[in-house]
């Protein structure tokens, strides 16, 4: 099947509404930043900004008093902090997956959502990076984590998975940022060209790096984009695998398990898609992008959630099986305790949200139902947060020696920090929606019929029918 074949010829549907044109796409996307923001944007932005303020206060208080302002204790030395970290890193995954993996697989339907997803990745990873940074007891010494040459000859411990994390996540962030930015260059140029005042012209011009749309530019651009996509693809697997090593390489029952890397990656993709879905459905409604983000996209994403959700469900079941099969009583206890112990509520929220709710998408009627898709995506976001909570807290709270068992109670600061990180994410995201082309203009144009090199070759009265048999034959 040819990459260049019109989509209908390969049995797919239009990826944009039939009446879209180059101009309408440019208009639809660019006008968002060129017209005054709708009132709804302001309400959302100010709300998000105030939550970011809460984050600032919570983190400030944390720095002032110490980790004790959270509910962490002995034995639960990691709780919401690392739960949030893993959750945010996981959310980031969908962005890379959509933009890089689907790009390499020539899944053209990604074009209307990839910008979105990439932005989400960047912001989610920013939120994720926040937590390991602030959760250390002495933040003013956090730089010890980096291999900075010093006269003491003191280096970080390269055996520690936490250090691998530092490198994995920062690499991931760097590559994701570059990838996102490279993709944005032609679109910034579009905005620059449409600018009606000097400030906009200068800002977008600066960001567009002198893009003129020449053939050479496009060739270099495509190559760079391809290379970055190829670089990002292994990162999708590596980052969450490394994050899972934090747990998998330990001796703790419930953590010490080889299934973690694939299980974490599947979970990450799962949660990432759910978050993209949540954001996309909101933006689609608010900015009236129904022409660009069609039911096809929604349905395809729901299918991916169904697949990854089922993978995750399999992993949950396999953990139980292995715990039993291992004959290790500590391992067995941890899993039985998850399902029946003091944290059973968290476990069953996780199962309900992550395993049961995506099963609705076996039905075509349900997976094309927008309100239901939205609700399920929220469920999955919640469920995936609980997955990390269950792994971290329920494993720690009852491990080997029963006398040291405990229970974790979050404090207001825990809650404030978490809600604040959501505030930070949405603040950044809303700024992105307002000032950056939220849909890849240039890429989207490439899936229009007009973008086909053969467009207009056969004006035989069926010009509206892009997928003529002749074209299909030629596609080979």
């Amino acid at each position: 099947m040819s990459f260049h074949a019109p989509i209908r010829a390969i049995g797919e549907k239009d990826l944009v509404a039939p009446k879209s044109s180059f101009r309408s796409i440019t208009e639809a996307v660019s006008r968002v930043s060129e017209t005054p923001a709708p009132k709804g944007w302001w309400i959302a932005f100010l709300t998000a900004l105030s939550f970011t303020g809460v984050l600032g206060l919570a983190v400030g208080y944390l720095f002032w008093r110490g980790i004790g302002v959270w509910g962490n204790n002995s034995p639960v030395a990691w709780a919401w902090d690392i739960t949030n970290f893993v959750w945010w890193v996981g959310i980031g995954h969908a962005g890379t997956l959509i933009s890089a993996v689907l790009f390499l697989f020539r899944q053209k339907w990604r074009t209307s959502i990839n910008r979105f997803a990439e932005a989400m990745t960047i912001f989610a990873v920013i939120c994720a990076l926040l937590f390991p940074g602030i959760h250390v007891g002495r933040v003013w010494h956090a730089y010890y984590l980096f291999p900075i040459p010093n006269q003491m000859g003191a280096w970080p411990n390269f055996k520690s998975p936490l250090l691998w994390d530092v490198f994995a996540v920062s690499t991931y962030f760097t590559v994701s940022l570059l990838f996102w930015y490279v993709g944005l260059i032609p679109d910034f140029a579009t905005l620059r060209d449409r600018a009606k005042n000097a400030t906009r012209r200068f800002s977008y011009g600066f960001l567009a790096l002198g893009w003129r749309g020449s053939n050479r530019h496009w060739q270099t651009y495509e190559r760079a984009y391809m290379i970055l996509a190829a670089l990002s693809t292994p990162l999708v697997l590596s980052v969450h695998s490394v994050v899972s090593f934090d747990f998998a390489t330990s001796v703790e029952p419930g953590w010490h398990t080889t299934i973690f890397p694939p299980y974490f990656v599947a979970g990450a993709v799962f949660s990432g898609f759910a978050m993209v879905m949540t954001l996309l459905l909101i933006a689609r409604a608010v900015f009236k992008l129904t022409d660009l983000v069609t039911m096809t996209h929604i349905e395809l994403m729901n299918k991916i959630m169904l697949a990854t959700g089922t993978l995750v469900g399999y992993a949950y079941a396999m953990e139980f099986f292995i715990a039993w099969y291992s004959g290790n009583q500590y391992e067995r206890y941890v899993f039985i305790n998850r399902a029946t112990g003091p944290y059973a509520w968290a476990y069953w929220i996780m199962i309900t949200c992550n395993v049961i709710s995506p099963q609705l998408f076996w039905s075509k009627r349900l997976r094309t139902n927008i309100p239901l898709s939205f609700v399920v995506s929220i469920f999955i976001n919640i469920g995936m947060w609980f997955e990390r909570f269950v792994i971290i807290v329920t494993s720690l709270h009852r491990d080997f020696v029963p006398s040291s068992w405990g229970y974790f109670h979050p404090t207001l600061i825990d809650i404030g920090t978490y809600l604040g990180s959501l505030g930070l994410f949405f603040t950044l995201f809303l700024l992105f929606l307002r000032w950056v082309p939220m849909i890849a203009i240039a890429e989207l144009k490439s899936v229009l019929p007009e973008a086909s090199p053969h467009h207009g070759e056969h004006q035989d009265g069926a010009s509206e029918e892009h997928g003529t048999p002749a074209l299909a034959a030629e596609g080979n």
């Binding site: 007891g137 003191a154 280096w155 055996k159 936490l162 330990s250 703790e252 004959g327 491990d399 229970y407």
Partner: protein, 1026 residues
């Protein structure tokens, strides 16, 4: 594919023991009722250096006290440090060289000889005095904690009159004024209220006062006195004496409500002796305990009978009857009326017959001990039984009391209050103690004290009594003043000060010296005068005195001593039959007033270490509670945390309930010493004051009590709550028979990996430190916990933070209840009502393959060449990953700046100046955000290594076995903790690491812990089983 074979865990055998730690957990494990599970599921720890000349040392102390005070002055700005160098260095004082001085503490009638570690004049750590027979180098937890009492920032700082600060001269003038008034009448109307004393100087000065004021009267009161034991001995032998036990010789011990190993006088010597007799083997001792509330002793027992306190004497009579029936000739001293005694209801027959047979079989090497809570008549009976069993002189000796004139505490205080009520008292001098708080409620002492014209109170704090008195004078801490104390066995030690009084404080004998108008009211002179026998030249006495200060012992323990014979007439009189009271039940409960293992009678209430220390059995800290048995709680509809109103006649108190397995049915345990109102910032309003229910005619237990729920709930903090052992090999144990048939049972139950190591083994060429903890001799007394806290500058976090699970103890003593599955149905109330207990001290086990080390991203926890798992505090950034990956959960994190956000808030947002003086200068004080844990006292290891390297003319030598002790090991009265060099084949530790009972806790993880446990062995009487 791995060829590693999986470990095979056998599930618990059908008749194996079930381990659990609290009733809620037990229910959780066994309940089918989902409602109950839901309700419970979210339910939430040397020898003394040469002594320099006394006078110059005191001057040095004075100078240093001032220097330290200056050095610790601090304002809002950066502290201005003024360092005053030694222009002329005092003799025998070297900076950074630790000195030890011998002194002695009064521990409930036992003089406990101590060596106190001192750094440049600051006492920092208490150790036992190896040359003192009460201690043999060991201590109890209160002695360990006493150094914090010294630095208590809430101590009264100067005398006061009616709450207004005065000078010491003002006080002396006022006292003289008041005494002058009695000059004419020979002291009529002058009363002195003191605590029971074991100080010969006190007794001498009292005679001097009585010579000056013949009509004056002395009264004695202590809420935790040994009056009953003294009175029992006086009745039996015709003279007051106290028994001193030689438990190392006892093969069978029966304790009748006597907490020999924790709260009774002589606990240190008892624990040491008991542990010596506790070596698993053919001559292992056996302990029977009859008591209403679980004590450390009961928890250590092989057989424990929970019995209401009022029935204990009935049990003893039934036992005596059995012995009289089976061996009439030997027990002829018992009156015939005893033969008809019947065991109280609920006592199993085997507890009479089998115990009597065991005692008789081991006559001469058995022991019956009566508790100080039990009436004198029981003591008389016990003295007679011990005599008839041939134990007197073997396992128990009697030593005449220091103060032959001391009278029954409650009666004496009642006389005083009656005299006050009758207006016969114009001047009252209270020397120590806190009667306004702890006097029995029926006496109304506090009210009466207010009405006295001239009242002088000597106490360490401006406490409840001081607040009501006209004059208050700060009482000096024992480490600040001269004194003396006689031990139970007759050894006399001199108390020498370690430091000049921090505040304007005086000792009891100094104030008594003023009253007596002694030629010198200096404590030093008063004590010397007592011990300088007439006719002994001062030159000779000086030599004796110096030797006494050096060794810590002035008069050796009496070995022979006069024979004490029970007088048959006294026995017959004591054993006059009493009518049994109405049966106990929900409308007729018994309450027991318990000497608290931590606060005693409230005197240590402001000691933050003790407040935070978990109770040995309940693991509750920062509070007391009324203990109820599960059956009683069920009958009354009470659950743990309910606030109860406990009523006896017209008096009632409120206190939170705690359901304690092993509590006697229909009997409540009420620990004394809590609910203080004027204790200080740490101790005020902690727990519940139970003195309101105490009457002078029923000081220790009383029936006819009713209980009602108030409807309120109260949150308690525990360091360890709701978990059973889940059939895991954690605290491994066996019976003696099982041990003899399978000596290595523990290693079989807790196996180590059978696979080859992944990496090349590390060889430790120099020292290779290791430890063993013997669970068979550990009594769970918690002394190690306080010793560690004191040695390692471990902060206190407060009740709320303990509830959050953030206590900082580097070593903790885990307590598991054990109920045999053989009880049949798991829901059998017997299983939860009458469990046994297993203790397990747990600190960092110094894994050779430490899981904490490879997860630290910054290399802050690393292995030393000697095999220690070390913490580099400066490098730690606090990711807490190590704590997560520690299978033993012994790592402690500074979640907040505990030293600053301390229990002394809000007045001190910083460590109080005095408390800083306690800090061990050889141990880093950790800041917030840093992980910490046991280091095997690495500062001691390095200190001894440096000493060893410098010795031998500078050529150095290896540290010898026994020369180096960790703080927990040194303090442990049971000698359950042994530490040393595993590379020394001859060392004690090397041999113990080959002991049959050894096992590595969680050894299957392959972490290779350096601390091994020696499994617990119980020695049940085969006749008692089944």
């Amino acid at each position: 594919m791995t060829r590693r074979k999986p470990y095979e865990f056998e599930g618990p055998a059908p008749d194996a023991a079930v381990y659990w730690t609290s009733l809620d957990d037990y229910t959780l494990q066994h309940s089918d009722d989902p409602a109950a599970r839901d309700h419970l599921a979210p339910e939430f720890l040397p020898s003394a250096l040469d002594f320099s000349d006394g006078v110059s040392r005191r001057s040095f102390m004075t100078l240093m006290g001032a220097a330290v005070a200056l050095g610790t002055l601090e304002g809002c700005r950066r502290p201005v440090d003024k360092i005053v160098p030694y222009a002329r260095q005092p003799e025998d004082v070297a900076v950074n060289v630790t000195s030890y001085y011998a002194t002695v503490l009064d521990r409930r009638g036992e003089g406990l000889g101590l060596l106190v570690e001192s750094h440049e004049g600051r006492p920092t750590k208490v150790e036992g005095n190896p040359d003192h027979t009460a201690s043999h180098g060991k201590t109890d937890l209160l002695a360990q904690a006493s150094v914090l009492d010294l630095y208590d920032p809430d101590r009264a700082r100067r005398p006061s009159e009616g709450g207004v600060d005065k000078t010491y001269a003002d006080f002396e003038a006022a006292l003289h004024g008041a005494l002058e008034a009695h000059g004419g009448n020979g002291g009529t109307g002058l009363r002195v209220l003191a605590q029971p004393s074991i100080s010969p100087t006190f007794v001498r000065l009292r005679q001097a006062v009585l010579r000056r004021f013949p009509s004056a009267r002395f009264h004695t009161w202590s809420a935790a006195s040994n009056s009953n034991a003294r009175e029992g001995a006086r009745l039996a032998f015709g003279q007051p004496a106290l028994p001193v036990y030689t438990l190392e010789r006892a093969r069978v011990v029966l304790s009748l409500d006597a907490d020999l190993l924790q709260t009774e006088a002589g606990a240190v010597r008892n624990t040491r002796g008991f542990a010596q007799g506790r070596r698993p083997g053919s001559d292992m001792n056996r302990l029977y305990v009859v008591e209403p509330t679980f004590t450390t002793t009961g928890a250590t027992a092989d057989h424990r009978l929970r019995l209401a306190a009022r029935d204990v004497e009935g049990y003893a009579l039934a036992l005596a009857a059995e012995l009289l029936r089976t061996h009439p000739a030997e027990f002829a001293v018992l009156p015939g009326s005893v033969a008809s005694a019947h065991a109280p209801e609920g006592v199993p027959a085997k507890w009479i017959a089998a115990v009597a047979r065991d005692l008789w079989t081991h006559r001469g090497a058995s022991l019956i001990a009566a508790g100080s809570r039990q009436p004198p008549s029981l003591h008389v009976l016990v003295h007679a039984l011990n005599q008839a069993l041939g134990n007197a002189g073997e396992t128990v000796r009697y030593v005449p009391a220091v103060d032959a004139d001391e009278r029954d505490s409650a009666g004496d205080l009642r006389d005083l209050t009656q005299a006050i009520g009758a207006g016969q008292v114009q001047t009252l001098i209270v020397l120590g103690g806190n009667p306004a708080y702890d006097a029995p409620a029926d006496l109304g002492f506090a009210e009466k004290l207010r009405g006295i014209a001239h009242s002088f109170v000597l106490s360490s704090h401006r406490d409840e009594t001081a607040a009501l008195a006209k004059w208050h004078v700060p009482l000096a801490h024992d480490f600040e003043v001269w004194g003396d104390a006689q031990s139970l066995d007759g050894a006399v030690a001199v108390r020498q000060p370690l430091i000049s009084p921090l505040f304007m404080a005086r000792s009891e004998i100094e104030v008594l010296g003023l009253v007596a108008n002694a030629p010198s009211a200096q404590g030093h002179d008063l004590v010397r005068e007592t011990h300088q026998a007439p006719g002994v030249p001062t030159v000779l006495f000086d030599r004796q005195w110096r030797r006494a200060l050096n060794r810590g012992v002035l008069v050796e323990a009496a070995t022979g001593g006069p024979a004490f014979t029970v007088q048959a007439a006294a026995l017959a009189q004591a054993l006059t039959p009493r009518t049994a009271g109405a049966a106990l039940g929900s409308g007729n409960l018994e309450v027991n007033f318990l000497v608290d293992a931590k606060l005693v009678d409230g005197r240590h209430a402001n000691n933050a270490w003790l407040q935070e220390l978990p109770d040995p059995v309940t693991k509750i800290c920062w509070d007391n509670a009324a203990y109820l048995s599960p059956a009683t709680a069920q009958a009354l509809g009470v659950t743990g945390g309910d606030v109860l109103r406990v009523t006896k006649g017209s008096r009632s108190i409120e206190i939170v309930a705690w359901v304690l397995p092993g509590q006697a049915d229909w009997s409540l345990g009420l620990p004394l010493g809590w609910g203080r109102t004027h204790a200080g910032r740490v101790g005020s309003h902690r727990g519940f004051d139970v003195n309101g229910l105490r009457a002078s005619d029923a000081l220790w237990f009383v029936d006819g009590v009713t209980v009602a729920k108030t409807g309120a709930r109260y949150a308690l903090s525990q360091t360890q709550d709701h978990h059973q052992m889940e059939g895991r090999p954690i605290a491994v144990e066996a019976t003696l028979a099982e041990f003899e048939s399978t000596p290595n049972f523990a290693a079989l139950r807790s196996p180590s990996p059978r696979t080859l190591p992944l990496w090349r083994e590390v060889h430790y060429d120099g020292y290779r430190w290791g430890m063993t903890i013997d669970l068979a001799s550990c009594t769970g007394c918690n002394t190690c916990v306080v010793a560690c806290q004191s040695e390692n500058n471990i902060p206190v976090v407060g009740k709320e933070q303990v509830a959050r699970g953030r206590e900082m103890h580097w070593i903790r003593v885990d307590r598991y209840f054990v109920s045999p599955r053989a009880h049949g149905n798991d829901r059998d109330p017997e299983a939860t009502s009458d469990p046994a207990v297993a203790f397990q001290p747990l600190a960092c086990v110094q894994c050779e393959n430490a899981p904490c080390e490879n997860v630290c991203p910054v290399n802050a926890t690393v292995h030393s060449p000697e095999g220690l798992n070390e913490m580099a505090y400066n490098r730690c950034i606090g990711t807490r990953y190590c704590a997560n990956n520690c299978p033993y959960k012994v790592r402690r994190f500074n979640y907040l700046n505990w030293h600053n956000d301390s229990v002394y808030q809000p007045e001190d947002s910083d460590v109080p100046e005095t408390v800083r003086m306690q800090m061990n200068p050889n141990v880093t004080v950790r800041f917030r955000g840093v992980m910490e844990k046991c280091t095997y006292c690495v500062q001691r290891i390095q200190g001894r290594k440096i000493e060893a390297n410098r010795s031998n003319g500078g050529h150095g030598r290896r540290v010898a076995d026994g020369e180096l002790m960790t703080a927990c090991q040194q303090a442990c009265p049971a000698d359950a903790i042994v530490f040393g060099d595993l590379n020394d084949r001859q060392s004690r530790i090397s041999q113990l690491h080959q002991n049959d009972r050894r096992y590595a806790l969680l050894g299957e993880l392959g972490v290779k812990p350096r601390t091994l446990y020696l499994a617990k062995v119980r020695n049940p009487n085969p006749e008692m089983l089944g």
